[in-house]
Symmetry: C2
Subunit: 192 residues, 2 copies
Protein backbone atom coordinates (compact mmCIF):
# COMPACT_ATOMS: atom_id res chain seq x y z
CA UNK A 1 0.00 0.00 0.00
CA UNK A 2 2.98 2.23 0.62
CA UNK A 3 3.88 1.89 -3.08
CA UNK A 4 0.39 2.91 -4.15
CA UNK A 5 0.65 6.00 -1.94
CA UNK A 6 3.88 6.99 -3.68
CA UNK A 7 2.41 6.40 -7.12
CA UNK A 8 -0.58 8.61 -6.24
CA UNK A 9 1.80 11.29 -5.05
CA UNK A 10 3.51 11.12 -8.47
CA UNK A 11 0.10 11.28 -10.19
CA UNK A 12 -0.71 14.48 -8.29
CA UNK A 13 2.72 15.99 -8.98
CA UNK A 14 2.49 15.48 -12.75
CA UNK A 15 -0.77 17.48 -12.78
CA UNK A 16 1.60 20.42 -13.21
CA UNK A 17 2.13 19.47 -16.86
CA UNK A 18 -1.43 20.80 -17.41
CA UNK A 19 -0.03 24.22 -16.53
CA UNK A 20 2.93 24.19 -18.94
CA UNK A 21 2.00 26.44 -21.85
CA UNK A 22 3.17 25.62 -25.36
CA UNK A 23 3.74 27.94 -28.34
CA UNK A 24 0.76 26.99 -30.53
CA UNK A 25 -3.03 27.12 -30.15
CA UNK A 26 -5.18 24.05 -30.79
CA UNK A 27 -7.23 24.35 -33.99
CA UNK A 28 -10.33 26.43 -33.28
CA UNK A 29 -9.22 27.58 -29.82
CA UNK A 30 -8.09 31.06 -28.81
CA UNK A 31 -5.80 29.88 -26.01
CA UNK A 32 -2.40 28.23 -26.09
CA UNK A 33 -2.10 24.48 -25.77
CA UNK A 34 -0.69 22.90 -22.62
CA UNK A 35 1.82 20.05 -22.61
CA UNK A 36 -0.58 17.52 -20.99
CA UNK A 37 -3.26 17.74 -23.68
CA UNK A 38 -0.48 17.80 -26.31
CA UNK A 39 0.84 14.53 -24.85
CA UNK A 40 -2.59 12.91 -25.25
CA UNK A 41 -2.85 14.23 -28.80
CA UNK A 42 0.51 12.86 -29.95
CA UNK A 43 -0.29 9.43 -28.47
CA UNK A 44 -3.40 9.18 -30.62
CA UNK A 45 -1.53 10.60 -33.61
CA UNK A 46 1.10 7.88 -33.22
CA UNK A 47 -1.51 5.16 -32.76
CA UNK A 48 -3.40 6.13 -35.90
CA UNK A 49 -0.26 6.57 -38.04
CA UNK A 50 1.70 3.56 -36.77
CA UNK A 51 1.51 1.68 -40.08
CA UNK A 52 3.43 4.44 -41.84
CA UNK A 53 6.66 4.18 -39.84
CA UNK A 54 9.71 3.55 -42.04
CA UNK A 55 10.94 0.72 -39.86
CA UNK A 56 9.19 -1.84 -37.72
CA UNK A 57 8.18 -0.15 -34.47
CA UNK A 58 6.63 -1.23 -31.18
CA UNK A 59 3.68 1.15 -30.98
CA UNK A 60 3.16 0.38 -27.28
CA UNK A 61 6.66 1.58 -26.47
CA UNK A 62 6.15 4.63 -28.70
CA UNK A 63 2.98 5.51 -26.79
CA UNK A 64 4.74 5.10 -23.43
CA UNK A 65 7.52 7.39 -24.67
CA UNK A 66 5.02 9.99 -25.77
CA UNK A 67 3.07 9.80 -22.49
CA UNK A 68 6.21 10.78 -20.57
CA UNK A 69 8.19 12.73 -23.20
CA UNK A 70 7.32 16.18 -21.86
CA UNK A 71 7.41 15.53 -18.11
CA UNK A 72 10.78 17.27 -17.84
CA UNK A 73 9.02 20.51 -18.82
CA UNK A 74 7.32 20.69 -15.42
CA UNK A 75 10.61 21.95 -14.02
CA UNK A 76 12.27 23.22 -17.22
CA UNK A 77 9.35 24.81 -19.11
CA UNK A 78 8.54 24.48 -22.84
CA UNK A 79 10.88 25.88 -25.50
CA UNK A 80 10.20 26.54 -29.17
CA UNK A 81 11.64 23.83 -31.42
CA UNK A 82 12.97 26.42 -33.88
CA UNK A 83 15.28 27.94 -31.27
CA UNK A 84 17.18 24.68 -30.87
CA UNK A 85 17.85 23.33 -27.39
CA UNK A 86 20.90 24.23 -25.36
CA UNK A 87 22.86 21.65 -23.38
CA UNK A 88 21.80 23.54 -20.24
CA UNK A 89 18.12 23.20 -21.12
CA UNK A 90 18.44 19.49 -21.84
CA UNK A 91 20.18 18.98 -18.51
CA UNK A 92 17.40 20.89 -16.75
CA UNK A 93 14.79 18.70 -18.43
CA UNK A 94 16.57 15.52 -17.43
CA UNK A 95 16.93 16.74 -13.85
CA UNK A 96 13.22 17.55 -13.93
CA UNK A 97 12.03 14.16 -15.08
CA UNK A 98 14.46 12.47 -12.68
CA UNK A 99 13.00 14.45 -9.80
CA UNK A 100 9.46 13.41 -10.76
CA UNK A 101 10.34 9.76 -11.27
CA UNK A 102 12.15 9.68 -7.93
CA UNK A 103 8.75 10.11 -6.26
CA UNK A 104 7.81 6.63 -7.55
CA UNK A 105 8.80 3.41 -5.74
CA UNK A 106 12.51 2.92 -6.45
CA UNK A 107 12.26 -0.02 -8.81
CA UNK A 108 9.94 1.87 -11.19
CA UNK A 109 11.98 4.92 -12.10
CA UNK A 110 14.70 3.21 -14.16
CA UNK A 111 12.42 1.94 -16.93
CA UNK A 112 11.00 5.39 -17.56
CA UNK A 113 14.21 7.40 -17.39
CA UNK A 114 15.69 4.97 -19.93
CA UNK A 115 12.66 5.38 -22.17
CA UNK A 116 12.88 9.16 -21.87
CA UNK A 117 16.61 9.12 -22.76
CA UNK A 118 15.89 6.89 -25.74
CA UNK A 119 13.29 9.39 -26.95
CA UNK A 120 15.64 12.31 -26.48
CA UNK A 121 18.48 10.57 -28.32
CA UNK A 122 16.08 9.88 -31.22
CA UNK A 123 18.15 7.05 -32.64
CA UNK A 124 16.08 3.86 -32.32
CA UNK A 125 13.19 3.17 -34.71
CA UNK A 126 10.68 3.77 -31.88
CA UNK A 127 12.27 7.09 -30.90
CA UNK A 128 12.60 8.26 -34.52
CA UNK A 129 8.92 7.63 -35.10
CA UNK A 130 7.89 9.22 -31.78
CA UNK A 131 9.92 12.33 -32.59
CA UNK A 132 8.37 12.54 -36.06
CA UNK A 133 4.88 12.32 -34.57
CA UNK A 134 5.69 14.98 -31.97
CA UNK A 135 6.17 17.50 -34.79
CA UNK A 136 2.83 16.91 -36.51
CA UNK A 137 0.18 18.61 -34.30
CA UNK A 138 2.05 21.95 -33.94
CA UNK A 139 2.41 22.09 -37.73
CA UNK A 140 -1.31 21.40 -38.13
CA UNK A 141 -2.03 24.16 -35.57
CA UNK A 142 -0.15 26.63 -37.71
CA UNK A 143 -1.49 25.37 -41.03
CA UNK A 144 -5.08 25.57 -39.76
CA UNK A 145 -4.41 28.64 -37.62
CA UNK A 146 -3.07 31.23 -40.02
CA UNK A 147 0.56 30.42 -39.15
CA UNK A 148 0.15 32.11 -35.76
CA UNK A 149 3.26 30.81 -34.01
CA UNK A 150 5.45 31.10 -37.11
CA UNK A 151 4.41 34.75 -37.33
CA UNK A 152 4.78 35.51 -33.62
CA UNK A 153 8.25 33.98 -33.47
CA UNK A 154 9.40 35.13 -36.93
CA UNK A 155 10.03 31.60 -38.17
CA UNK A 156 10.92 31.49 -41.87
CA UNK A 157 9.82 28.84 -44.35
CA UNK A 158 13.44 27.71 -44.71
CA UNK A 159 13.57 27.04 -40.97
CA UNK A 160 10.19 25.27 -40.96
CA UNK A 161 11.23 22.95 -43.79
CA UNK A 162 14.67 22.20 -42.39
CA UNK A 163 13.59 21.55 -38.79
CA UNK A 164 10.56 19.46 -39.71
CA UNK A 165 12.31 17.35 -42.27
CA UNK A 166 13.18 15.15 -39.29
CA UNK A 167 9.66 13.75 -39.79
CA UNK A 168 11.12 11.93 -42.79
CA UNK A 169 13.45 9.91 -40.55
CA UNK A 170 10.40 8.42 -38.82
CA UNK A 171 8.02 8.21 -41.76
CA UNK A 172 8.75 9.10 -45.37
CA UNK A 173 5.05 8.85 -46.26
CA UNK A 174 4.02 11.19 -43.47
CA UNK A 175 6.70 13.71 -44.41
CA UNK A 176 5.57 13.60 -48.02
CA UNK A 177 2.03 14.56 -46.95
CA UNK A 178 3.17 17.16 -44.40
CA UNK A 179 5.62 18.71 -46.88
CA UNK A 180 2.72 19.10 -49.31
CA UNK A 181 0.69 20.84 -46.63
CA UNK A 182 3.60 23.15 -45.79
CA UNK A 183 3.99 24.01 -49.48
CA UNK A 184 0.28 24.81 -49.46
CA UNK A 185 0.89 27.14 -46.50
CA UNK A 186 3.66 28.89 -48.46
CA UNK A 187 1.35 29.29 -51.47
CA UNK A 188 -1.41 30.63 -49.21
CA UNK A 189 1.03 33.21 -47.85
CA UNK A 190 0.86 32.10 -44.21
CA UNK A 191 4.41 30.69 -44.25
CA UNK A 192 7.02 33.08 -45.58
Amino acid sequence: MEHIEKILEFIVEIEKLKDVQRKTKPVGLERFENSAEHSWHVCLTALMLKDYANEEIDINRVIKMLLIHDLGEIDAGDTIVYAGQTTEYKAEEEAGISRLLSILPGFMADEFIELWREFEAGETADACFAKAIDRVPPLLHNIHGDGHSWRTHGVTKEKVFSVNQRIEAGSKDLWSVMRGKLEGAVNAGILK
Copy 2:
Protein backbone atom coordinates in the same frame (compact mmCIF):
# COMPACT_ATOMS: atom_id res chain seq x y z
CA MET B 1 -1.32 9.04 -49.05
CA GLU B 2 -5.07 9.41 -49.14
CA HIS B 3 -5.27 7.40 -45.92
CA ILE B 4 -2.76 9.67 -44.20
CA GLU B 5 -4.83 12.69 -45.25
CA LYS B 6 -7.90 11.17 -43.61
CA ILE B 7 -6.00 10.31 -40.45
CA LEU B 8 -4.72 13.90 -40.21
CA GLU B 9 -8.28 15.15 -40.65
CA PHE B 10 -9.26 12.95 -37.69
CA ILE B 11 -6.30 14.28 -35.68
CA VAL B 12 -7.50 17.84 -36.27
CA GLU B 13 -11.13 16.99 -35.47
CA ILE B 14 -10.29 15.41 -32.10
CA GLU B 15 -8.59 18.67 -31.05
CA LYS B 16 -12.09 19.57 -29.88
CA LEU B 17 -11.66 17.31 -26.85
CA LYS B 18 -9.32 20.03 -25.52
CA ASP B 19 -12.39 22.25 -25.31
CA VAL B 20 -14.63 19.83 -23.37
CA GLN B 21 -14.75 21.09 -19.79
CA ARG B 22 -14.94 18.62 -16.92
CA LYS B 23 -16.32 19.11 -13.39
CA THR B 24 -13.09 19.19 -11.37
CA LYS B 25 -10.02 21.42 -11.30
CA PRO B 26 -6.50 19.94 -11.52
CA VAL B 27 -4.61 20.16 -8.23
CA GLY B 28 -3.19 23.66 -7.86
CA LEU B 29 -5.07 25.17 -10.83
CA GLU B 30 -7.96 27.62 -10.71
CA ARG B 31 -9.55 26.44 -13.94
CA PHE B 32 -11.54 23.32 -14.78
CA GLU B 33 -9.84 20.38 -16.38
CA ASN B 34 -10.52 19.47 -20.01
CA SER B 35 -11.12 15.94 -21.25
CA ALA B 36 -7.95 15.80 -23.38
CA GLU B 37 -5.53 16.46 -20.52
CA HIS B 38 -7.64 14.15 -18.33
CA SER B 39 -7.17 11.40 -20.94
CA TRP B 40 -3.38 11.80 -20.76
CA HIS B 41 -3.48 11.77 -16.98
CA VAL B 42 -5.48 8.53 -16.71
CA CYS B 43 -3.16 6.81 -19.20
CA LEU B 44 -0.18 7.51 -16.95
CA THR B 45 -2.21 6.61 -13.85
CA ALA B 46 -3.03 3.23 -15.42
CA LEU B 47 0.56 2.65 -16.52
CA MET B 48 1.96 3.33 -13.06
CA LEU B 49 -0.70 1.28 -11.22
CA LYS B 50 -0.89 -1.66 -13.64
CA ASP B 51 0.59 -4.15 -11.16
CA TYR B 52 -2.31 -3.61 -8.76
CA ALA B 53 -5.10 -4.83 -11.07
CA ASN B 54 -7.12 -7.69 -9.52
CA GLU B 55 -6.87 -9.79 -12.65
CA GLU B 56 -4.26 -10.12 -15.36
CA ILE B 57 -4.63 -7.18 -17.71
CA ASP B 58 -3.09 -6.06 -21.00
CA ILE B 59 -1.87 -2.59 -20.08
CA ASN B 60 -1.40 -1.65 -23.74
CA ARG B 61 -5.09 -2.29 -24.44
CA VAL B 62 -6.02 -0.41 -21.27
CA ILE B 63 -4.02 2.61 -22.43
CA LYS B 64 -5.62 2.51 -25.88
CA MET B 65 -9.05 2.39 -24.23
CA LEU B 66 -8.20 5.37 -22.06
CA LEU B 67 -6.78 7.36 -24.99
CA ILE B 68 -10.15 7.13 -26.76
CA HIS B 69 -12.59 6.71 -23.85
CA ASP B 70 -13.83 10.30 -23.82
CA LEU B 71 -13.91 11.02 -27.56
CA GLY B 72 -17.71 10.70 -27.57
CA GLU B 73 -17.83 13.80 -25.35
CA ILE B 74 -16.83 16.01 -28.30
CA ASP B 75 -20.42 15.73 -29.50
CA ALA B 76 -22.16 14.74 -26.25
CA GLY B 77 -20.34 16.88 -23.64
CA ASP B 78 -19.10 15.73 -20.22
CA THR B 79 -21.55 14.68 -17.49
CA ILE B 80 -20.95 14.32 -13.76
CA VAL B 81 -20.51 10.69 -12.73
CA TYR B 82 -22.75 11.15 -9.68
CA ALA B 83 -25.76 12.01 -11.83
CA GLY B 84 -25.69 8.61 -13.50
CA GLN B 85 -25.87 8.42 -17.28
CA THR B 86 -29.12 8.19 -19.18
CA THR B 87 -29.63 5.83 -22.13
CA GLU B 88 -30.04 8.93 -24.30
CA TYR B 89 -26.66 10.32 -23.20
CA LYS B 90 -24.90 7.01 -23.83
CA ALA B 91 -26.46 6.84 -27.30
CA GLU B 92 -25.28 10.39 -28.00
CA GLU B 93 -21.76 9.49 -26.91
CA GLU B 94 -21.69 6.41 -29.12
CA ALA B 95 -23.00 8.39 -32.08
CA GLY B 96 -20.30 10.95 -31.35
CA ILE B 97 -17.39 8.55 -31.32
CA SER B 98 -18.78 6.78 -34.39
CA ARG B 99 -18.90 10.07 -36.27
CA LEU B 100 -15.28 10.80 -35.36
CA LEU B 101 -14.01 7.33 -36.22
CA SER B 102 -15.85 7.44 -39.55
CA ILE B 103 -13.39 10.15 -40.63
CA LEU B 104 -10.62 7.50 -40.52
CA PRO B 105 -9.96 5.09 -43.40
CA GLY B 106 -12.77 2.51 -43.28
CA PHE B 107 -10.75 -0.46 -42.04
CA MET B 108 -9.54 1.42 -38.96
CA ALA B 109 -12.78 2.41 -37.25
CA ASP B 110 -13.96 -1.06 -36.18
CA GLU B 111 -11.10 -1.79 -33.79
CA PHE B 112 -11.65 1.43 -31.91
CA ILE B 113 -15.43 1.37 -31.71
CA GLU B 114 -15.16 -2.18 -30.30
CA LEU B 115 -12.59 -1.04 -27.76
CA TRP B 116 -14.81 1.89 -26.75
CA ARG B 117 -17.83 -0.40 -26.33
CA GLU B 118 -15.75 -2.78 -24.23
CA PHE B 119 -14.72 0.12 -21.99
CA GLU B 120 -18.31 1.33 -21.65
CA ALA B 121 -19.58 -2.16 -20.82
CA GLY B 122 -16.92 -2.42 -18.12
CA GLU B 123 -17.02 -6.20 -17.97
CA THR B 124 -13.63 -7.48 -19.15
CA ALA B 125 -10.59 -7.31 -16.87
CA ASP B 126 -9.09 -4.55 -19.05
CA ALA B 127 -12.27 -2.47 -18.99
CA CYS B 128 -12.80 -2.97 -15.25
CA PHE B 129 -9.30 -1.71 -14.54
CA ALA B 130 -9.60 1.19 -17.00
CA LYS B 131 -12.87 2.26 -15.38
CA ALA B 132 -11.33 2.06 -11.91
CA ILE B 133 -8.43 4.25 -13.04
CA ASP B 134 -10.78 6.78 -14.65
CA ARG B 135 -12.22 7.52 -11.18
CA VAL B 136 -8.91 8.23 -9.45
CA PRO B 137 -7.81 11.69 -10.65
CA PRO B 138 -11.18 13.42 -10.05
CA LEU B 139 -11.16 12.06 -6.49
CA LEU B 140 -7.62 13.35 -5.98
CA HIS B 141 -8.73 16.74 -7.35
CA ASN B 142 -11.42 16.94 -4.69
CA ILE B 143 -9.28 15.52 -1.90
CA HIS B 144 -6.48 18.02 -2.66
CA GLY B 145 -8.90 20.78 -3.67
CA ASP B 146 -11.15 21.27 -0.67
CA GLY B 147 -13.88 19.02 -2.12
CA HIS B 148 -14.75 21.71 -4.68
CA SER B 149 -16.87 19.66 -7.07
CA TRP B 150 -18.56 17.65 -4.28
CA ARG B 151 -19.59 20.96 -2.73
CA THR B 152 -20.67 22.63 -5.97
CA HIS B 153 -22.81 19.67 -6.98
CA GLY B 154 -24.05 18.79 -3.49
CA VAL B 155 -22.57 15.29 -3.61
CA THR B 156 -22.88 13.46 -0.27
CA LYS B 157 -20.30 11.13 1.25
CA GLU B 158 -22.73 8.22 0.83
CA LYS B 159 -22.87 8.91 -2.90
CA VAL B 160 -19.08 9.32 -3.17
CA PHE B 161 -18.44 6.00 -1.43
CA SER B 162 -21.09 4.07 -3.33
CA VAL B 163 -20.20 5.39 -6.80
CA ASN B 164 -16.44 5.02 -6.35
CA GLN B 165 -16.55 1.59 -4.86
CA ARG B 166 -16.42 0.46 -8.49
CA ILE B 167 -12.67 1.05 -8.15
CA GLU B 168 -12.64 -2.17 -6.11
CA ALA B 169 -13.77 -4.19 -9.13
CA GLY B 170 -10.59 -3.15 -10.94
CA SER B 171 -8.17 -3.07 -8.03
CA LYS B 172 -8.89 -3.99 -4.41
CA ASP B 173 -5.55 -2.55 -3.31
CA LEU B 174 -6.19 0.77 -5.01
CA TRP B 175 -9.70 1.00 -3.56
CA SER B 176 -8.32 0.28 -0.11
CA VAL B 177 -5.94 3.26 -0.41
CA MET B 178 -8.53 5.54 -2.02
CA ARG B 179 -11.16 4.61 0.57
CA GLY B 180 -8.68 5.61 3.28
CA LYS B 181 -8.16 8.97 1.57
CA LEU B 182 -11.91 9.51 1.28
CA GLU B 183 -12.32 8.71 4.98
CA GLY B 184 -9.62 11.29 5.61
CA ALA B 185 -11.66 13.80 3.59
CA VAL B 186 -14.72 13.04 5.72
CA ASN B 187 -12.68 13.53 8.90
CA ALA B 188 -11.30 16.80 7.55
CA GLY B 189 -14.86 17.98 6.91
CA ILE B 190 -14.48 18.45 3.14
CA LEU B 191 -16.73 15.45 2.33
CA LYS B 192 -20.08 15.48 4.15
